[in-house]
Symmetry: C2
Subunit: 223 residues, 2 copies
């Protein structure tokens, strides 16, 4: 695979900065990382490519191949050290740092997200939670969040250097919140509603569709 090699062609500007990962590799590394994060919490010391394969549904040879492209992280006959593989992958994905995100919607979904460790586990810090419902303003949610007024949006995004906005709002509200986020300078939007959100080309929208995954899983059960 080409991403393993330092580029041999004429353009090769391999000046210390690594090349961009292919989409598939980046996606798979993210999934390995998720498993490693949990394994670490469970106090697991080492993990084999076969165990990783069981949890991620990625072929074990593929996993070893992906990892060996970046170094010799494993120990033959033993497996990979959970702790060190975890930090290696974080380095590869450039996500060793903290990233600030803002969350919209303090309903059930918003509160579930705010209370979850998933984002924190991966270096995302929720710096603010917004809601348009005045009745919810000032309400305490999760460990350290208080519902804020929508009007503070631009200030928070600028002051806290926010790059990601998470939408946990009703479908009807998603587009308008997205517009405001784009306006305020956010470049990645994570959409938990099922709205089809439209944004300018420089902005990325990820729509999380649990039912789609389920549909897909079910196809293989039904056939």
């Amino acid at each position: 695979m080409s991403y393993q090699e330092p580029s041999t062609g004429a353009q090769g500007l391999v000046d210390g900065t690594s090349e961009r990962l292919s989409l598939g590799v980046a996606a798979r590394l993210s999934r390995y990382l998720q498993v490693l994060t949990q394994a670490r919490k469970m106090g697991k010391q080492t993990i084999s490519s076969h165990e990783l394969a069981d949890y991620t549904h990625v072929n074990s040879t593929q996993i070893r191949r992906d990892l060996s492209g970046f170094g010799k992280f494993g120990k033959r006959g033993v497996g990979y050290n959970v702790e060190s593989l975890h930090s290696q992958i974080r380095k590869i994905l450039h996500t060793s740092g903290q990233h600030n995100i803002v969350l919209f919607g303090a309903g059930h979904l918003g509160q579930a997200i705010a209370g979850s460790a998933v984002f924190a586990d991966h270096g995302f810090r929720i710096v603010a939670l917004f809601d348009t419902d005045p009745a919810r303003l000032g309400t305490r949610v999760g460990e350290s969040l208080t519902v804020r007024a929508y009007g503070d949006l631009e200030t928070v995004i600028r002051d806290e250097d926010v790059v990601v906005g998470v939408l946990a709002v009703p479908t009807e509200a998603a587009q308008s919140v997205a517009d405001d986020l784009v306006e305020a300078g956010v470049r990645v939007i994570f959409n938990y509603s099922d709205a089809l959100v439209q944004v300018p080309p420089e902005v990325t929208v990820h729509t999380s569709s649990p039912a789609v995954d389920l549909l897909y899983a079910l196809y293989f059960y039904l056939t």
Copy 2:
């Protein structure tokens, strides 16, 4: 994305009906379907492969190629009819019918799921919502659900012909609920917790990892 087929044993007979889709095709069709479902709700009549590409992040040529494998659904110069493409894909995915699912956990996440249209949109009917907390028993959730006692589990699964169990429980509880589901005969588990759930080979677990998707999206933003 990349996903290993559950082991199928001796089944693979292509008995004149359609062949099994490849993993990639099934995954992509599911995503087209999600967009079409929304487009239909918005009253859109036709949709082009480029519009589908914008929303799904799948290459437009790929989309046309995927679809043309099953028939000539589009009209040159116009695009695809939303309504008819929607029903074609449902047919291809064998998900035109209704499927019964059970939901575990009546906390914020469980209530968010119960109140969402995502599952209903794709033909999944939540037939029961369980929780171990006695204080929540009998509580009304969403339109038509009442929190039931964990003890009713086996009866419900047998009587309602449930094939999918959805876990919206705390991480610590996930494995034990999964064990009970497997015991009761469920073959597809959808895990919203971040636990690493272990199941026998004939059972499929899908772990939904929003933060993983985000990590992945962010990689392309940061590089």
